[in-house]
Amino acid sequence: MSLLVDSITGGYSQIPVLKNVSFDIKDGELIGLIGLNGAGKSTTIKHVIGLMHAFEGKIEIDGQTIAKDPQTYRRKIGFIPETPLLYDELTLKEHIEMTIMAYNLDRVGAWDYADTLLKKFRLTDRLDWFPNDFSKGMKQKVMIVCAFIIRPSLFIIDEPFLGLDPLAIRDLIEMMEEEKARGASILMSTHVLANAERICDRFLVMHAGEVFAQGTLNELRGFFNMPGGSLDDMYSQLAAKEGF
């Protein structure tokens, strides 16, 4: 079992945003985290990566908790945030060096992989530039490269498709498939439902800080009572519930 989130309640300063959230991701599984804005997706992610701490419940990656051994726990996660987060002062090359150092990666192997990815994303000739001056999509590519060279056991990817060109989206999906085959688990939050439907093994539908429904597309169809329905249709039902 790769990620286990066991009935966590948490949020910002005593006001719970998440209420009794439980789910798990197995090795080689890709879970789509979906829900309307403000449903608690990002808060869930923050709890998993250890930026926020749950009031109750526990989170384990491969049986490790952050409290027991923060370093081992963190080494298992590759995180791609929704808004690209880059160092103002570092070049693209130095971002990769930083990642190698921080995660204590094998330099040669990591650079090998990084070079392949950089080539795929057409970033090779930008190695000496500050990525902070790049376009949104190119920044996102830098984030993707830095997360993938870690070869983590759990990927946490927040809205990966925004700003990427169609070519890069295709490449990213391919890379995610490869990582799954390697045994990595992926938690992906997204609003691009068409992509999610295509690539996710299971879904976690969040609503108002709770897990509203979870399961495969077929199971969700059963839950929402929409045989043959798409995620889009289910979203609309969820929105109708909110009164839109």
Binding site: L51, R75, E94, N132
Partner: protein
């Protein structure tokens, strides 16, 4: 609320803020120091003016450089904010009267500045016999005209496209230099006529082209940001301002030096090393203090004074670089990386130790003139101080924060 009111509100806020900062800048000590400095400078200047001969070339050259750099200094205060480039975009016409008022204010303030400059330089141009009793008003007319040309062309640059702007700037600066040179070396009357003609032409141009051009928002935003940052940087010497610490420069030529400072495999050290070099608020400060301290020690023969100044400068450098630890604290990645928290303090200590030792070495070398023994003594005291600062003071101070 109209756009006029928005800017009225902004300027109120701006002046209130500025007043608050200036209160800190002009504190009692600084005012006294400033008075003494002004007095001393004035005394030296008046002494110098008496020795100048009418045909002297050097004072004319220096005066040209001083006039040109002071007359092209300063930009129009527009109080345009970055978000205006999106929100105020549809208010193309409505912005006109607001900007006109900014132009008027700038013309008035800088005009007053130019006449002050004319007053201060008047004794010198008298001794150089550029100006005689009856023609001193021409001196004022020339300097004020040139400044107004500068202000007006800055205003024009808010409207034209980038290509035209470069031409405008070159043209303006060329004519300014020419007028100054003609006025100082050939004939003041000719220089003044040139400056006044340029002003007339510049105003005529702007009146003619006014209606058909749109605002260059990017340029306006950029120029105002630069102005504010320069102002804050200045005030920042006295009191903390929201001066953008994020001013980052690539400085590719420094890459060699940067890697020279890399030690070991700590991501913290790797990062703040680059923060130090590429955030000019850190490296610039270090360089400035290093330079001032070294120059002082080059010319000061008294070793006790050197020790005192050296320790003071090392302390100032060290103290101003402590926020490097804060940079690490504020970077979210160091919360996500699988690394220990204590590495932050160690990385900051490591970098500061090397920077301070380097500075201490430079100071000791600069005071070599006082004798090798004295320089050696300075080196030892500097070393001891750095050890104490890094190992004792920093550890306590950074742990507390």
């Amino acid at each position: 609320m109209e756009i006029k009111d928005v800017f009225k509100q902004r300027s109120q806020l701006y002046y209130r803020q500025l007043g608050k900062y200036l209160k800190y800048v002009f504190n009692d000590h600084f005012v006294v120091a400033l008075l003494i400095l002004t007095g001393a400078l004035g005394f030296t200047y008046s002494d110098y003016v008496e020795t100048v001969s009418a045909q002297a070339l050097l004072p004319r050259l220096i005066l040209s450089v001083v006039l040109f750099s002071l007359l092209t200094f300063g930009s129009i205060r527009t109080l345009i904010e970055p978000a205006d480039g999106i929100y105020l975009l549809p208010l193309e016409k409505e912005l006109e009267p607001v900007m006109k008022r900014h132009l008027a204010t700038a013309a008035f303030v800088y005009g007053a500045g130019a006449s002050l400059l004319a007053t201060v330089t008047l004794p010198l141009v008298f001794s150089l016999e550029i100006v005689t009793g009856g023609t001193s008003f021409l001196w004022y007319v020339m300097l004020i005209s040139l400044k107004l040309v500068d202000v007006n062309s800055q205003y024009q640059a808010f409207k034209v496209n980038q290509a035209g702007e470069v031409h405008l700037k070159w043209f303006k600066e060329g004519v300014m230099l020419l007028s100054i040179a003609v006025g100082l070396f050939l004939s003041l009357v000719a220089g003044t006529i040139l400056a006044a003609a340029m002003l007339c032409w510049s105003v005529y141009q702007s009146l003619m082209s006014q209606s058909q051009q749109v605002w260059n928002w990017e340029k306006m935003i950029d120029s105002e940001q630069k102005r504010i940052q320069a102002l804050y940087r200045l005030i920042n010497l006295f009191v903390e301002t929201p001066y953008g610490s994020h001013r980052v420069h690539r400085l590719k030529w420094l890459d060699g030096a940067v890697t020279l400072f890399d030690r070991g495999h700590s991501p913290h050290a790797y990062y703040i090393n680059r923060v130090f070099f590429r955030q000019t608020s850190f490296s610039g400060l270090y360089l400035r203090l290093l330079l001032i301290g070294s120059v002082f020690m080059l010319f000061s023969p008294a070793i006790y004074l050197n020790v005192l100044v050296s320790l003071l400068f090392l302390y100032l450098i060290g103290f101003q670089l402590l926020p490097l630890k804060q940079v690490l604290d504020e970077t979210i990645y160091f919360k996500l990386y699988p690394v220990k928290n204590t590495d932050k303090i160690r990385a900051t200590q490591g970098l500061l130790a090397r920077l301070l030792l380097l500075a201490g070495g430079v100071f000791a070398l600069s005071s070599f003139g006082a004798g090798p023994l004295q320089a050696g003594l300075l080196l030892i005291t500097n070393g001891l101080f750095v050890w104490g600062f890094v190992k004792v003071y920093m550890r306590r101070r950074l742990r507390e924060s």
